[in-house]
Symmetry: C2
Subunit: 363 residues, 2 copies
Amino acid sequence: MIAPALRDEIARRYGTPAIVIDLDRVARNIARLQAACDAAGVANRPHIKTHKSPVLARMQIEAGARGVTCQKLGEAEVMARAGIDDILVSYNLIGSHAVGRLGHLLRESPARITVAADNPVTVAGLAEAAAAGGRRLDVVVECDTGRKRAGVETPGEAVALARDIAARPGLAFAGLLLYPPAGGVAAAQAFLDAAQAGLAAHGLQARIVSTGGTPNLPEIGQVRGTTEHRAGTVIFNDRMMMAAGVAALEECALAVLTRVVSRAGEARGILDAGSKTLTSDTGGGLDGFGLLPDHPGARIAGFAEEHGFLDLAACADRPPVGTLVEVVPNHVCVVVNMVDAFVAVRDGAVVGTIPIEARGLIT
Amino acid sequence: MIAPALRDEIARRYGTPAIVIDLDRVARNIARLQAACDAAGVANRPHIKTHKSPVLARMQIEAGARGVTCQKLGEAEVMARAGIDDILVSYNLIGSHAVGRLGHLLRESPARITVAADNPVTVAGLAEAAAAGGRRLDVVVECDTGRKRAGVETPGEAVALARDIAARPGLAFAGLLLYPPAGGVAAAQAFLDAAQAGLAAHGLQARIVSTGGTPNLPEIGQVRGTTEHRAGTVIFNDRMMMAAGVAALEECALAVLTRVVSRAGEARGILDAGSKTLTSDTGGGLDGFGLLPDHPGARIAGFAEEHGFLDLAACADRPPVGTLVEVVPNHVCVVVNMVDAFVAVRDGAVVGTIPIEARGLIT
């Protein structure tokens, strides 16, 4: 992704390791997601957990996205402050701290805010937030159709929770939030159809039917009734998306530029990127902790916190100490979260840094 | 570690998840490390990669530490700015960015600075930094006695690199840096004895012989000739140190306070701490991604970025939605690096937050 001359310039200006994004590739990935949503006739609501940057969210909005998805309230606060005007928080917000902040956000921000819930405890808190915020809060019911994460597990529970929401002053039942595993269209459809029938029987309607995921890109809109899709990783892609068959290496728009800082063993190199940069995420069981496109025989076999252990046994061209090496991470979303800024390149030149404003906002 | 009433207060004031440290336990752990070093007659140079906080470094210095160890230049810059006056960087610093910053640090800070190297490329850059800094730079040779990370692999290479250092204007050969695996005293001793003989034959002497590691606490000073020890994790301890037999649960001074935000499945809970809080670090192959002292049957079976998957199948007392749960991380050093501040408690009360100033400083 990063030409050799550019590697030298990045290392000289910013040091290593550096989290580098190629804005040309980013723009193409944004356009690709938008085109996939347009073709399917569903709104695009990209998940900003991947980039955590209002600058990149703005690029997505300008390309046609209806709004953004956030996983944490802190991310939503950052996006609202940056003027993003349509925000979905796809997460159960619970506890007086979150409720108070959500109320404040509703009061102070003009943004349309929608929040997910999968249980009555969450719903009760959202009603408090709406009251404090002085305006109606749209709530979608999170439904689990096979992932076994959060989300009510039956259409009946979805209907019951929708009725609870609709009955609360200040809350509006807005729809259903799904996150089907790739290949899970049939199960999602069955759940959705049953839930919609149940809602109709109580005079309710799901205005929003939101699906999610980058691995599901080829399936956008295949669940009939889908109104919007939330995809995060596609803006950068990574080794996991390559393994899932939804991205080519040339569509990976983020690389970690790292340096070989030790070659004390004949078949061993040490990179200056360890688990505090690339993270220990295996990308769902991939072999090694990242892809080295320029050194196909090399493998990141393990980590210390600031050391990447490079196994060079099968590497014909073993990089000497000082070599700059590009790594495509296993899972890009967690790597972005490790640092405060991207180094951005465009058209083969460094354009500067882009702050990762919502980095580390775990609450 | 955190009493129930205190959990409520922390959640109310700071939200969840929160990285909580118990300053009473921290103080005891600091004292324990200092006592172990004192008993062995070696200087204490704690590794601040674990806490990344000048406030905690100052506590270590006040308890008797000679100085601190840093793994990255950015950490050293933070410590120097905070007035810590004796800093070892136990890492190969390479490239014009690092060399320029190191030169600047030498020029602007009154701190004693020592840097490690395991190869001539590093040494050449350190000489440039010393020239730019206008003062002598002490360099220790990093030696590998079995860990197979960075570090020259033979005493002969150590001597050759020491001579290279000694021959460079502006650099002083200061000694040897070891990081023996626990149980590796004999191998380290053999390496050290041979290296010291070789050094003597060339009129050189290792003024510093630095060992490292928390699992090695029981072995401090057992390598004859050791002058100082670098231990990081012991200030907080974690599940990995418990597994290594060097810490009891009552010596774990950091816990992640997290909340059950979903119980959509009968035997499944979802915590609001996922891989962006607790990290995917397995702690060297531990079962599950953290210890839940109050829910012995519960197991953190996996992560999404903001979801911890709690397997409650074997849990007699299944926590309902909203429950605050304390988690002792697998590996505390990487968890600290995820956020900007600790929530600190002392004597059963919240005392406020402590900034993690060197968080995310990967260069």
